[in-house]
């Protein structure tokens, strides 16, 4: 019945020009859209379910999970302690990230400009990437002591590979016709790199940064955990608290780490929105 009607309407000649409205990708607007219950209610419900499960678990297995109230109390009573340690870990994470970013970016440029260097560097980078960093960390502690150095190196290493791979791919993603246009005006390699290749690599770099920003916290904590004599940092706080069987304190530190990771992820997303507005808009217009 409906199908027959459809056929009839289709065969009717169209008297007017059909204007198809552009298809827009439903975007999460940074405005007040998140105030709508549809935006926050699912998450709140999910958290409530998890909290209920946790409370039930803490009640029936007190040696496995501390009650949520205890974690909250620890956080409140020793707020300064946690803040200081969080600050130490965040500093390590960001400085290590910076180190890894600079090293990876420079090497990405070198490997994409010189195929010989790529053949030398890339295999080493891959080997480094598949080596478990948790295994390297103790060795670095032995070599560099309990200071900041091993933490920065571990964090830097963990951030290094995704940035190197993505950036070097982005630098080489310039379409051939673009390169040809600039070749016929004899743009130098440096000009091509600066005006064309590096901007082209930005979306690729940010894809890596989104992975690497939260990962930097992992790197810092792993290094702290491996350095048994460290004096500060959330990783140190965790190993201290667990050695004293203070489960609530362990989970308090873990909660802060999760928060740190989330904040870093938000930060990089905001940065990406600013830098890659052209890229966003391209996606928004549906190609």
């Amino acid at each position: 019945m409906n199908a027959a009607e459809d056929v009839l309407t289709v065969t009717e000649p169209e008297p007017e020009l059909i204007v198809v409205p552009p298809v827009r990708r439903p975007m999460w607007r940074p405005g007040l859209g998140f105030l709508h219950p549809r935006m926050w209610l699912p998450l709140v419900l999910m958290l409530a379910v998890l909290a209920t499960l946790w409370t039930w678990g803490a009640h029936s297995m007190p040696y496995l999970l501390p009650p949520l109230g205890d974690i909250g109390a620890t956080l409140r009573e020793d707020a300064d302690y946690y803040l200081n340690n969080a600050w130490v870990t965040l500093k390590e994470a960001l400085m290590g990230l910076g180190l890894g970013l600079v090293a990876a970016f420079v090497l990405a440029v070198i490997t994409s400009e010189f195929p010989l260097a790529r053949r030398a560097i890339m295999p080493v980078a891959v080997i480094l990437n598949v080596t478990p960093l948790v295994a390297i960390a103790p060795a670095l502690v032995v070599a560099f002591g309990f200071g900041a150095a091993p933490k920065l190196i571990v964090t830097g290493l963990i951030c290094f590979f995704p940035i190197l791979i993505n950036t070097s791919m982005g630098l080489r993603a310039v379409p051939q016709p673009v390169l040809q246009v600039y070749q016929t005006v004899n743009a130098s390699r440096l000009e091509t790199l600066w005006y064309i290749r590096i901007p082209m690599a930005m979306p690729y770099l940010f894809a890596a940064l989104r992975i690497v920003f939260p990962l930097s916290v992992v790197g810092a904590v792993v290094a702290e955990l491996s350095a048994a004599g460290s004096s500060a940092g959330l990783g140190t706080a965790i190993s201290l608290a667990s050695s004293m069987n203070r489960l609530a304190a362990v989970y308090a530190s873990i909660a802060i780490l999760a928060l740190l990771g989330s904040v870093l992820l938000l930060l990089v997303t905001a940065l990406e929105r600013r830098v890659l507005h052209w890229h966003e808009s391209r996606q928004g217009n549906g190609g």
């Binding site: 016709p177 673009v178 016929t184 005006v185 052209w278 217009n285």
Partner: protein, 268 residues
């Protein structure tokens, strides 16, 4: 440039692409071509006839295996170094993070030494060129916000804005619909009329070649070679009305016949 001089000269050019485990592909075999300064020359032929290869040789993007290619008397690489060339590829090849205005001015900002040497030529500014191309409202937009036709017009303005001695266009309109294509042809002729560059225009559209060109070079494949050169003696300016005249159809038929001839000679 004195009239009567030669802008592009190709002599005995041969270009072979090695094929792994097969007979090598002869993209160009002993090609001779001479394009007078200030003229509009189209190269037409079926796919694989080497027309794009020929253009790339003149652009200095590839080297001939044998023979000699000159642009205004110098080798293509030297012409590129002196910014004497402008290239409009098949795809607009715009940079998606730059506005239209920044896209068309970037080629002026690279290789500045050559830009300074060429600065003497007075003429319309980039903004004026964009206005002439109907892009005045798009100047500060990103390429992704433009239609395909507007993107290609931007690419043409980018090339013309260099005030090149030789403009090389590789099927620039082939991805556009018929109406857009015709209006772009008209705008291209207007710009060309004003800026007087030598144009080498690769196309596979017969009517496009007839409408735009002073000379049409017909090529055939396997091996890629020139089979005919047709002079188009139609008055300029060539407005849209010209497309309906018998003279225009005469040239279209002529080019089609020669193209078919090139094909059959090849098959036999």
């Amino acid at each position: 440039m004195p009239s009567g001089s030669v802008s592009i000269s190709v002599r005995g050019a041969r270009r072979v692409y090695p094929v792994k485990g097969g007979t090598d592909l002869i993209a160009l075999d002993d090609v001779d071509l001479s394009v007078p300064a200030g003229s509009f020359v189209s190269v037409i032929g079926p796919s694989g006839c080497g027309k794009s290869t020929l253009l790339r040789l003149v652009a200095g993007l590839e080297e001939a295996d044998r023979g000699d290619v000159r642009v205004c008397g110098v080798r293509p690489a030297e012409a590129a170094a002196a910014k004497m060339l402008g290239l409009v590829p098949q795809a607009p090849a715009l940079l998606p993070w730059l506005t239209v205005l920044k896209n068309v001015t970037l080629p002026l900002r690279v290789n500045r030494a050559a830009s300074r040497r060429r600065a003497s030529a007075p003429g319309p500014s980039m903004e004026e060129l964009l206005r002439k191309a109907g892009l005045q409202d798009a100047m500060h937009k990103l390429p992704s916000q433009l239609s395909g036709g507007m993107q290609q017009r931007t690419a043409i303005v980018r090339a013309f804005g260099l005030r090149p001695d030789v403009l090389l266009m590789d099927e620039p309109f082939s991805a556009l619909d018929e109406f857009t294509r015709e209006s772009l042809q008209e705008q291209l002729l207007d710009l060309w009329d004003e800026l007087k560059a030598t144009v080498l225009f690769v196309t596979h559209s017969v009517s496009e070649a007839v409408r735009l060109s002073d000379k049409i070079v017909v090529m055939a494949p396997r091996p890629g070679r020139i089979t005919d050169i047709i002079d188009v003696r139609l008055p300029r300016p060539r407005r849209a009305e010209l497309l309906k005249t018998p003279e225009f159809h005469h040239y279209e038929d002529l080019v089609r016949d020669r193209l078919r001839g090139a094909f059959q000679a090849n098959a036999a």
